[in-house]
Symmetry: C2
Subunit: 196 residues, 2 copies
């Protein structure tokens, strides 16, 4: 019984930590992208438009950032006004409205991406590669479970494969098109080198 | 060099997974609390008002759920209109406006809490207690790092202790005041019993 209660406390603790960590991570990202003139959601939207497979529609962005399509559409309205995004009819299918990022957004995206990359390296620096692999495995279990909850009876393995594919594609494009992999960010060079 | 690139890919993967998992978890929680007539943020706000130390002000809720105070105030306005929350001057200090939950909100809170508890047990069911402890340790590292990023030069150990204290208090109160710890939720009883 005691063990059982401890186990339940641990589950509650995990739930709190997941929410707490994400709130903190969001604050970090808001601050960091804010310094580059973008909100975190604007940044994620620009990344999606630039690196997902063309044509990128609001519904693709919504799936990517995990929001409802109508809230993405409202955000895109504001980004159009701010000169960051344009809407255009797709030439192959006139019914499709695709999103395009402007040169102003391109100019904001590069330093924001570099700052984001330095940030995430810094945040992950105390974790060894083994820790990171374990972390990824645990997060993958959580992803599977939440997908399963949201899509009962569907082929979750297939959904996971598609999810991984879009990440891998995006990662590849980030590397190709100018996300510089510096040898190490300055601030945690020492610690990191030990683990590599 | 190859190792280094692999290590960088792993960091990027983790970053994607953290965001992806949280978007999925939010969708689950929105759906689950939605079935009980609450948005996830309304639910978190009601929990904060009910279980944090009295008086609970909008700024306390904001810290708890990791939002800005003015966005919490707007949400509270809507919750007042919906008959879920009242604002009241604190008797000990008239300058303080404290938040109080209504009996309508109390009635919504209990089934939502039970549903939430069954949900999180289900989601965590494939993880052994050892996995969960590792997960908590990794999330604690991430919490430390993000707190450190947001509050450079401050006493992060002290912040972590306060953070843990508020979680432990809240956990205690959830148990005391009616969050029923059922032996196990039905659906994953089999799997769970093996790990306990």
């Amino acid at each position: 019984m005691t063990v059982n209660l401890e186990s339940q406390n641990l589950i509650l603790k995990l739930w709190f930590l997941i929410h707490r960590d994400y709130a903190l991570l969001r604050s970090c990202e808001d601050q960091m992208y804010g310094e580059k003139g973008l909100t975190m959601e604007q940044y994620a939207t620009l990344v999606a438009i630039k690196y997902l497979n063309d044509p990128v529609r609001p519904t693709d962005v919504a799936r990517w950032i995990g929001r409802r399509t109508n809230s993405v559409s409202m955000m895109v309205d504001r980004m159009v006004k701010a000169g960051l995004v344009r809407r255009e009819r797709d030439r192959r299918d006139r019914r499709v409205v695709r999103l395009i990022i402007t040169s102003k957004a391109e100019n904001a995206l590069k330093p924001a991406t570099r700052a984001g990359w330095e940030f995430i390296q810094k945040i992950m620096s105390p974790l060894s590669d083994e820790d990171r692999q374990t972390f990824a495995r645990l997060l993958e279990t959580l992803r599977y479970q939440t997908m399963n909850y949201l899509n009962p009876g569907e082929d979750i393995e297939e959904m996971v494969r598609n999810d991984d594919k879009s990440h891998v594609n995006l990662r590849g494009r980030l590397v190709q098109r100018g996300l510089t992999f510096t040898p190490q960010a300055k601030h945690q060079g020492e610690k990191k080198r030990k683990t590599v």
